[in-house]
């Protein structure tokens, strides 16, 4: 794309409603503006939810609930912190938050990448199904609960019940883990995992040594029914 076409569409949310903004983003699938800057988000909900095009979006400030939910293809950068359910059910593209996120960041995500430069609160990556999530700080309790696919990378510490009832998501934690959840165990960091982790750290722009991380995953005793576990139910 030539520099002449690199115009940036600026939307001020003190003047434009969320519905108008999101409609314009949904209509930008082909031929519309590709670069967007959203100002004065002021904690409003559902900013940029349901985008389905390779847009470049910068949001200047803190966003509310469900920002960039169901995102497909777009690269969304939040220059602030995010409320509950950031990038919930993300399909593809990237969502990067400079600050912290509240709970359920990247929940149920099926693809793409979510990067949190600060801390994520409880339930980060809950029921994730293929999304990759990189958190530079800490994650709260019940992160990776019933996580099925994809990778959750935590450069800081993880709270209680990490990976509770986990399926096949790979969890990497550099710091301490308060407590592992049911059927979540520490596993060897094999060559494959070191490569996966290096790739994710590089993609997220995080300077960290993969060998400082520990890997956690499923003991596979909970979701494969075994008669020996009958007394655990």
């Amino acid at each position: 794309m030539g520099t002449a076409e690199q115009t940036v569409e600026v939307v001020d949310l003190t003047e434009t409603t969320i519905r108008e903004l999101n409609q314009r983003l949904h209509d930008a699938t082909d031929g519309g503006p590709q670069n967007w800057r959203i100002t004065h988000p002021n904690g409003l909900h559902a900013i940029g939810a349901g985008i389905n095009a390779p847009l470049e979006i910068d949001i200047d400030g803190h966003v509310g609930y469900y920002c960039a939910g169901m995102n497909k293809e777009a690269n969304v950068r939040i220059h602030g912190s995010a409320g509950v359910g950031l990038a919930e059910n993300i399909m593809s593209g990237t969502v990067i938050v400079d600050g912290d996120t509240s709970q359920s960041a990247g929940a149920t995500g099926r693809g793409g990448l979510v990067v949190v430069r600060g801390n994520a609160a409880a339930r980060c990556g809950i029921s994730m199904k293929g999304v990759n999530i990189v958190v530079e700080g800490n994650v709260g309790h019940l992160s990776g609960f019933m996580a099925q696919k994809g990778a959750l990378v935590v450069c800081g510490d993880a709270g209680e019940a990490l990976g509770d009832s986990i399926y096949e998501t790979h969890i990497y934690v550099r710091g301490s883990v308060t407590e592992l959840g049911a059927d979540c165990i520490e596993k060897d960091l094999k060559e494959f995992h070191t490569a996966e982790l290096s790739g994710l750290l590089a993609e997220a722009g995080v300077d960290a040594n993969p060998s400082d991380f520990k890997r956690y995953g499923s003991a596979r005793k909970l979701y494969n029914f075994s008669i020996d576990n009958a007394d655990a139910y």
Binding site: G43, L44, G61, H62, Y65, G83, S102, A121, A122, G140
Partner: protein, 301 residues
């Protein structure tokens, strides 16, 4: 769902406008709780030897002047009532316990909303936006204040079921969430001699704190024991004479955001209630950890 807003001033110039700013915060939380709204303002300390009551009457034409006259007859002095919609604040020349008891004994038609040196509680059913205008909250100066917007789940919508609930002199509680063991706990607290006026679950939480502190616990200790004894979901904000405290249940069912600038400390259910404050864009913002007591008081800021 309910909405909470708390605001604490760090400068005297901000105190002048605190009512205006808290009103803006409350209106942002209106769609989290359209059933009723309430506030506790900490302002205009009663002179030494006196105390302040906030009283509620469902009768719009209630003769507050007559009541104030009776109170000065009983205790001396003579301050006129400051009337705001269905509520009136009266300064009484005795301590807050005596003044409150006198009203309960002599005027059962009234409800004592708050008693203490500086606290004033106003609450009413209906839309929070109308509440702000009807009670003229924007003109109030205060050192700090708490607000609540209610979406009722556990009990009916009346003025008495609205938040904040008084939990002792100059103390009050607002709650977002619901409690499961409030019926049994209410009976236990009543046996301990604690007055509980409604079937509301949040009032039981307020009564629980009242009881704990009566038994000698500090506010922090009372809140910490609430983690063991209250079964349910909650974000609590507790107003005190000098500041406020915040506590979330250990599994973080209910949201809370905190923020601090050079002029103020704020807490709210969501950031959008903080975004309306001057200087919010440059203020520090964070989410309080679940199960941990946070307290701001005048001396500590």
């Amino acid at each position: 769902m309910c909405g909470i807003a708390g605001l604490f001033s760090k400068s005297s110039s901000f105190e002048e406008r605190l009512g205006d700013h808290l009103s803006d915060m409350l209106i942002q939380m209106a769609d989290r709780g359209p059933d009723s709204a309430g506030v506790a303002f900490y302002r205009n300390p009663a002179p030494v030897g006196s105390s302040k009551l906030t009283l509620f009457s469902p009768d719009e034409g209630y003769d507050w002047e007559l009541l104030a006259g009776e109170l000065s007859g009983a205790f001396g002095g003579g301050n006129g009532p400051e009337v705001r919609a269905s509520h009136a604040v009266i300064v009484v020349q005795t301590d807050a316990d005596d003044a409150g008891r006198w009203v309960i004994d002599n005027h059962p038609e009234l409800r004592v909303m708050s008693a203490g040196e500086t606290i004033e509680i106003y609450k009413e059913k209906g839309d929070p936006r109308e509440f702000v205008e009807r009670f003229g909250l924007r003109e109030l100066s205060a050192t700090h204040a708490l607000g609540h917007t209610r979406m009722a789940t556990e009990s009916i919508v009346t003025t008495e079921h609205s938040h904040p609930f008084s939990t002792g002199l100059d103390l009050c509680l607002v709650h977002n969430g619901s409690l499961c063991n409030h019926n049994r706990l209410r009976e236990e607290l009543r046996r301990e001699g604690i007055t509980i006026q409604t079937d509301n679950d949040s009032e039981v939480a307020a009564a629980y704190l009242t009881w704990k502190m009566r038994e000698g616990a500090s506010l922090t200790e009372a809140l910490e024991s609430a983690l063991d004894d209250l079964d349910g979901f909650f974000t609590f904000a507790v107003g005190t004479a000098d500041g406020f405290a915040v506590l979330r249940d250990p599994i973080a069912c209910k949201p809370a955001v905190m923020s601090e600038s050079d002029d103020w400390v704020a807490m709210a259910s969501e950031y959008r209630a903080i975004a309306v404050l001057p200087g919010a864009e440059d203020a520090r913002v964070w989410e309080p950890d679940p199960g941990q007591v946070y307290i701001w008081e005048k001396e500590k800021v």
